[in-house]
Every structure is written in C-alpha cells, then in structure tokens.
C-alpha cells in the first residue's frame, strides 16, 4: 500500500488542476449567490410595490375599515356611477376597483360587492379584502346575537395539547420537523456529494481506460490500490471544492446582502401574514427563543461525528460502485443503464426521509430504512438529531446500522474491486448485468 499516497496525490492534482473543475469551483458560489440575491431582490421589489385600489363605497356599513396598509392604499370615489369609477380606475393605472353597493342588510351588501381588476387579482390582495369583509360580517352577526366583540374574543382561544415524554421532558411542537430538517440537510449533503463526486470517480476510471494507460499502471500497482487511490483522491478534491463553495459562498452572500441592503429574515415575511387576524399566540420572539434553546440541546458533536461516519462509509460504498461501473464500460454514454439503480436507493432514502421520518422518526419505516445500508447514511442522519437512547434512536439500532454499513462496505468494495479488476482490461465491450456477474467469478 506504499504507493497509495502517490496515487491519491496524482488523482487529487489531476482533478483540482482540471480547467472545468477550477471554473466550477469559483463560478458556482458566484452563480448561487447571484441567484439568491436576485430572488431576494425581486421579493423586495415585489414587497415594495404599492397597490392603489379604487373604492366606490355606497354602503354605510363600511366607514373606516379600509385603512392604508403597508402594500395597499385606497382612493375613495363618491357620487359617480360604477362604470365611471371603473374607467377612472383603469385610466389612473390603479390596481383595481372595489365596489360595495348600498343596502340595508350587510349580508346582501357583502354578496353584492365586487373587485374589478385588469387581470385575475393577486392572492395577497384578495386575502386582505376577504379578511376585512369576514371581520365585518362576524361583528355584525355577533351584534345580532347580542354578544359583544370583547366577549367573543375572550371565548375564542386557540388550544394545543401539551406533550411530554414519560421522563417529563416537554416536547415542543414542530421541533421534530426542525430536527429532521437538520438531519435531512446532512442527508441531502451526502446524496449530493455521492452523485457529483461518484460521477467524477467514474469518469476518471473511464478516462484511464480510454487512454489505455491502465495496463501500464496496474503492472505497477494492484487494481484495488489504484481504485482506492482514485476514490480517495477524487473525494479530497471534492471536499476541497465543497469547502471553497461554503466559505466563498458564505462570504459572498454576506457581502452581497450588505451591498444590496437585503435583510435575509424579510424573505420569510410571507409566512407571518396569516397571523394578522385571530387571537394572539405566543409572540414570535418567545417561540424563537424556545426553538433556539431546543436547537442548542441537539447534540451537535454527536451529530457531526455520526455524520462523518455515515458520510465516509456511505460515500465509499457508492463511489466504489461508481468505479466498478466506470471500469465495466468503454464510454460515458454506456453508463446510463447502471447509473439509475444506484441513484434509486438515494432518491428513495431522501423521499422516505421527508415523507415518513419527519412525521414519525421512530416508526417502523424510519427504523427499516435507517438499518438498510444503502439508505441508512441518509435516513439515520435524519433521525439522529432527536438524540440517542431514550426518546431518540435506540443504541442497538445505531450499532446495528453502522455494523451493517461496515459489512456492506467491505462486501461492496470487494465486489466492485473484482469487477474493476476485470473490467479495466476489457475493451470494446458494452457489458450486460449477466457478464458483470460472470466477472465476479474470474
């Protein structure tokens, strides 16, 4: 194995010196940041847009309900016909015209009201107007029943049941999802890394085959050493690229936000709109604090340790399969039939993770997929933020999962090395699965 460092060094240098690799390393964060900035900027423009709505109010029921709000202001028309008001709104370039007819009964008035716009109206605007009408209607109906608004508000309260573990630890709503998202983030990172850099490993093997250097090299080193060196060298190049992406992307993002004066938290403002009406809930600050506390409680050191374990094992398993595929074919176009079965378990892991593990991190599906070696690196990481032991992932599951992963790792690397050894010396053939199976016996 004394030649392994030499191979790793060559593979690493060959990769990081490659022009397209260098370009992608520096261009990707710029593109990503440009995209984020563009989205943020567009959102800001969109938010900043003032809508003026013409209001032709013939009824007495609405007097001071239509107040100027952040995005909308109202221009009141009076003493003109509906048609004239419509023309006038259109000419002025207003967003639309809200017509409220006269009537004795508020229900009828509301029924008869119309919003006229050029195109189909924006849902934000509609929600706002709907809200105004709903509240006014409720007020009116309550009055008819003889209930005061304050009385009503005092009986209308939200309620959520408290949950706790047997130990008495309080659970917080949604924290499971947040934890799973953090784990999901790690899982997603693993998947992306496998797909991008596994492909690199495969192409590097194919390149050696098509340039016919392979026979020269394996008369000096063992095929297994070469394969391992390739995988490690390429992965290190990948880690380098990822690190550059994260650091430069982060810096660029900060710089860009400073230049364009964008507040990142404003991008979530859409979610808060729904909370405008209805009784008060704990303030956002309080909830945030609770969540923050809970996030600090997540055992990060443990999580990152296991991330590394699952990442390394999972990546090695998959990239050796990629290397075997690269060895089996003569050019990249022939790889398609083999690539899909590899990506399948990865996709499955992500989807199962998002649909099943989030809602039930310790359910049978989550347990099954976090034990199955081809999906465990992703699914187990989605479960781990919940902790280990009581209330989290039982220790036996974690141990079994890692053991299974190690056994599979050894088995797959062994099989892949066999296919690799035979495949790299086969030229001009597009192998079938049957042939690959035969190669295992050579």
């Amino acid at each position: 194995m004394n030649k392994l460092p030499l191979i790793i060094k060559r593979e690493y240098l060959a990769k990081v010196r490659n022009k397209s690799f260098v370009i992608m390393t520096f261009l990707s964060p710029i593109l990503m940041v440009a995209m984020v900035v563009l989205i943020a900027y567009l959102t800001k423009i969109n938010d900043g847009e003032k809508r003026i709505i013409g209001l032709l109010n013939e009824s007495d029921y609405f007097t001071h309900e239509f107040l100027m709000s952040e995005g909308t202001s109202y221009v009141h028309f009076s003493d003109i016909s509906l048609e004239a008001a419509k023309d006038s709104t259109a000419n002025q370039g207003y967003y639309g015209l809200l017509y409220i007819p006269n009537g004795k009964d508020l229900e009828k008035v509301a029924e008869g009201s119309f919003l006229y716009t050029k195109d189909a109206p924006n849902t934000d605007v509609l929600d706002r107007l709907d809200g105004i009408f709903q509240q006014r209607l409720r007020q009116e109906r309550l009055q008819k029943m003889g209930v005061s608004t304050t009385d009503f508000e005092s009986i209308d309260s939200r309620f959520e049941i408290n949950t706790a573990t047997y130990d008495g630890d309080l659970n917080i709503k949604g924290i499971n999802e947040i934890k799973a998202f953090i784990g999901g983030g790690f899982g997603y990172l693993i998947m992306m890394f496998i797909i991008i850099y596994g492909g690199f490993v495969m192409r590097s093997v194919i390149e050696e085959k098509t340039s016919r250097i392979i026979e020269v090299i394996i008369s000096s080193v063992k095929p297994f050493e070469l394969m391992l060196g390739k995988i490690i060298g390429t992965s290190l190049a990948g880690v380098t690229q990822f690190a550059i992406w994260i650091v430069s992307g982060g810096l660029l993002l900060i710089v860009a936000f400073a230049i364009f004066d964008i507040d990142p938290s404003s991008m979530n403002s859409g979610a808060a709109v729904g909370a405008n009406f209805g009784p008060p809930i704990p303030t956002a600050d309080q909830t945030l604090q609770i969540y923050a506390q809970e996030l600090f409680k997540i055992p990060w050191a443990m999580l990152i340790t296991f991330f590394l374990i699952y990442f390394i094992l999972g990546y090695l398993i998959y990239s050796s399969i990629y290397a075997a595929i690269g060895a089996a074919v003569d050019n990249e176009t022939d790889t398609q039939q083999f690539i899909f079965p590899i990506i399948l378990p990865l996709m499955l892991a992500i989807y199962v993770g998002f649909f099943s593990v989030f809602s039930n991190p310790n359910g049978p599906i989550a347990v099954g997929f976090s034990l199955f070696p081809l999906t465990s690196p992703i699914v187990m990481l989605m479960r781990l933020p919940g902790g280990i032991g009581e209330g989290g992932v039982p220790i036996w599951e974690l141990v079994t999962s890692i053991l299974l992963l190690i056994i599979t790792f050894i088995g797959i690397v062994w099989l892949a090395a066999k296919i690799y050894r035979v495949g790299i010396l086969m030229y001009g053939k597009k192998p079938t699965y049957k042939e690959l199976f035969r190669w295992l016996k050579y």
């Binding site: 390149e207 008369s219 000096s220 016996k441 050579y442």
Partner: protein, 311 residues
C-alpha cells in the same frame, strides 16, 4: 539458474473459455525471447500473468528461481500492446509518477530521466502535455517509462507498432543494447521479420497451448526439409535432370540452353547432401548449392495451419 522466468503448466480459464492450457516455458537469461502466436492465442493472458495483473488457476511461475511474488513487479518492465498515457498530464510529471509507481525515488527517477531524454533527444518535451505529442512521440515516452527502473526482465508487446521506420530502428537498437547490458527480454509480436532479426529463442502459442518452443536456430534446423536450391552450368542439362528425377523429387526446374544454365529445387531424402554434391560436381560446374532454411514466418504459418487442421 540460467532462466530468468519459468512457467510450469500454467492454466487460466475465463468462465468456460480456457485462455491458457498447461503452458510451460523456460526463458533463458540475457536473451531475447519471441512469444509468437495468432491473435487470441493467449499471449496477452500469459504476459498479464507474468506481470501479476491476473493470476493462473493452476501452475506456477518462477522469476529468477523464486516463485513469482509481488516484489518482483519492480524487476519487470512491461510495455503493453494497448498503451497510452494521461492525455492532459505533462510529460515530465507523468514519467516521474510512473517511475515512482515502479518504486524509484523521485531524485533517482529524475536523474535517469535526464539521461534517457538526452539519449533519445527529446529533452524539450518535458513540459509538453501528452495530447500535444504525436503518436510516435508518445511511444518513445512509453518506452522510457518501461525501461527506466532498469528491470531484469523486459516484456515488449508489439513494441514497434506506431513507429515510423527511423524511430523503429532507434528503438530496436535500444532493445539490443539493453540485451547487451544483461537484460532478458520477452518480445511478443506478429511481425516475423523482427523475430528473425532479434530473437534467439521463440515459443509459439496457438489456441491456448504452447505448440513449439526452443532456440530459433534449432527450430529452423528441425523444420528444414532437406530442400536445396541448385544452380549448374552445363551443356546437357536435360540429361542431368532426367537422371536426378529418377532418384529425387525435383521441382521448379528451368534450363536455359543459350546460357547453359540449369536451376532447380531438389528434395533429398536425408541431410546427407555430400553424395549428391559429388555426383553433380562430376557432371557440371556448380554455381550454387544452397539448403533452404524456412523463415520464422513459414514455420509459424506451417505449424499453426497443421494444428488447425488436426483439431
């Protein structure tokens, strides 16, 4: 130990196909050994086994008296038929890398490379990328990579393919010089004229079996059929021909009366040509009396075809 490499009943199977069937060879030290055979005969499999790229199912290989071990790789230089280099890597870096894979230290590799680059007059290629070189130029680089670690045994698989005649000659001279310096060489080829020129020993592999091996001169002797080309100066050629034809098998005879020149080919029953020569000398002036030695190419074709018919 006079053999650098010995294989004993080496057998290799791929699935149901037998690539090598009990092949035993003895390759003497300090010689050029021609490994011949039609395409798909099993030559490449044998060479890969010697290089420990694949392993025999049965039989053993001995290198310099020892059972073949991974350490022997550093003592073998192999120029495969399917050869190439990393296209986007610079020449210098690449040869250094390959030399280090063979176990040379970086400084030692650099020293030796300098020598070889000067010798083959390619010093200014160091910083070029392989993709900028012609095929023949890349072949030269590969030749250097093969011999750089000064192996005891060199294996060349079709070393001259891709070379123009001038460069092929340069490489041929280098191969001969390496042999002079004590290296043993296995030379696998279809090109029979280079076999005649270079090889002292040959082995012929056909359909996974060794069907012939030994010293080339011995094989040729064994394959000669006592056929002689004869040229006589005589007035009565017709009579001589008639007398000879009664005793021997005469073919392609040609008598030019004006020039008094008689040429023919005669098949003698044994290698004792003296009596015939005596007889002829009393009848005519002998211009030439030459035994036909079969060429390596003829032996190759003859043996392969006869085997082909038998099976």
């Amino acid at each position: 130990m006079n053999n650098i490499l010995v294989t004993k009943e080496v057998t290799k199977r791929y699935g149901g196909h037998t690539a090598l069937d009990k092949v035993s060879l003895e390759i003497p030290k300090n010689s050029i050994y021609g490994l011949l055979g039609p395409n798909g005969a099993g030559k490449t499999t044998l060479i890969r086994i010697i290089n420990q790229i694949t392993f025999p199912d049965q039989g053993e290989v001995y290198f310099d008296g020892e059972l073949l071990k991974p350490q022997h790789i550093a003592m073998i230089g192999y120029l495969p038929e399917e050869r190439g280099l990393y296209k986007s890597m610079k020449v210098g870096e690449q040869v250094l890398y390959l030399a280090q894979l063979k176990g040379l230290s970086k400084s030692e590799a650099q020293k030796r490379l300098k020598f070889w680059f000067e010798r083959l007059e390619i010093g200014d290629w160091w910083n070029k990328k392989i993709q900028e070189l012609s095929k023949g130029m890349a072949q030269k680089i590969q030749f250097i990579v093969t011999v750089l670690h000064e192996p005891k045994l060199l294996i060349f698989d079709e070393p001259f393919s891709g070379f123009d005649p001038i460069n092929a000659n340069i490489i041929k001279d280098e191969i001969l010089r390496l042999k002079e310096n004590g290296t043993s060489i296995i030379f696998s080829t279809h090109r029979m004229e280079s076999v005649e020129e270079l090889c002292e020993y040959i082995a012929l592999i056909h359909r996974s079996e060794k069907i012939l091996d030994g010293k080339l001169s011995d094989i040729k002797r064994a394959y000669k059929n006592n056929i002689y080309q004869v040229g006589l100066e005589t007035d009565n050629g017709d009579m001589i021909l008639k007398e000879l034809a009664d005793k021997f098998d005469i073919s392609s005879s040609k008598y030019n009366i004006g020039e008094k020149q008689l040429d023919f080919t005669v098949q003698l029953p044994d290698s004792n040509s003296g009596s015939v020569l005596n007889y002829l000398s009393t009848k005519a002036n002998i211009n030439h009396f030459v035994e036909t030695i079969p060429s390596a190419s003829e032996i190759f074709i003859q043996t392969v075809q006869s085997k082909g018919i038998h099976e």
